[in-house]
Symmetry: C2
């Protein structure tokens, strides 16, 4: 998992407790993605676990990019903290750091390959 | 479909005839993606049609991004011409034009949503 935390600099952070839902599958997006700074987040869809996000990992980027509804539910599995990245901040990060853009593309590519697995 | 052709400037181009295979599912990637300038390309996987790429559309970006094998076969359905974008040129385009990066992300997001459809 790439360490996205290195890219984001100062950001608005939110603390969470286990069981807390950061966003729910199907919800209209708030235009933000999240970087997990501490703790654990599980991504699930239609009752199945898609991914355990590790510290430094990103989630919620899909709805930020295409303004679609949340494709998965993000639920805390351990107490922790996340950084909130708005759409505006996201575009700023891409402008300032092309490596960030490439890392996000690699993350999206990984999600596509996940769906293509046999 | 976004007009990627507007972004790429001058590029190495290749002409093709109907039935020609640009790349085959499972092939080790040559590190290039393609912008369709004229004609038609069909993307297929495991015998199923995934997408008809229109003029101005991009294909082959997944393997360029993650260096994995080709996830689909790209076959010409009409005579045409494509522009070849190497990995180096891809990074240059991102550096020079963050809007190009965002368009590629939107394309990847569209591919993820395609796999998530009911």
């Amino acid at each position: 998992m790439s360490q996205f935390a290195d890219f984001i600099g100062s950001a608005h952070t939110i603390e969470f407790v286990p069981g807390e839902v950061i966003f729910a599958e199907g919800a209209l997006a708030d235009g933000c993605m999240y970087v997990l700074l501490e703790g654990g987040i599980q991504l699930g869809r239609q009752g199945k676990v898609l991914e355990e996000v590790g510290e430094g990992g990103v989630f919620g980027e899909l709805a930020l990019i295409d303004n679609g509804p949340r494709s998965a539910t993000a639920k805390a599995t351990a107490p922790g903290k996340l950084a909130v990245i708005s759409g505006e901040r996201f575009r700023e990060l891409i402008l300032r750091n092309p490596s960030f853009a490439l890392e996000i593309m690699r993350l999206l590519a990984r999600r596509i390959r996940f769906h293509l697995r046999p």
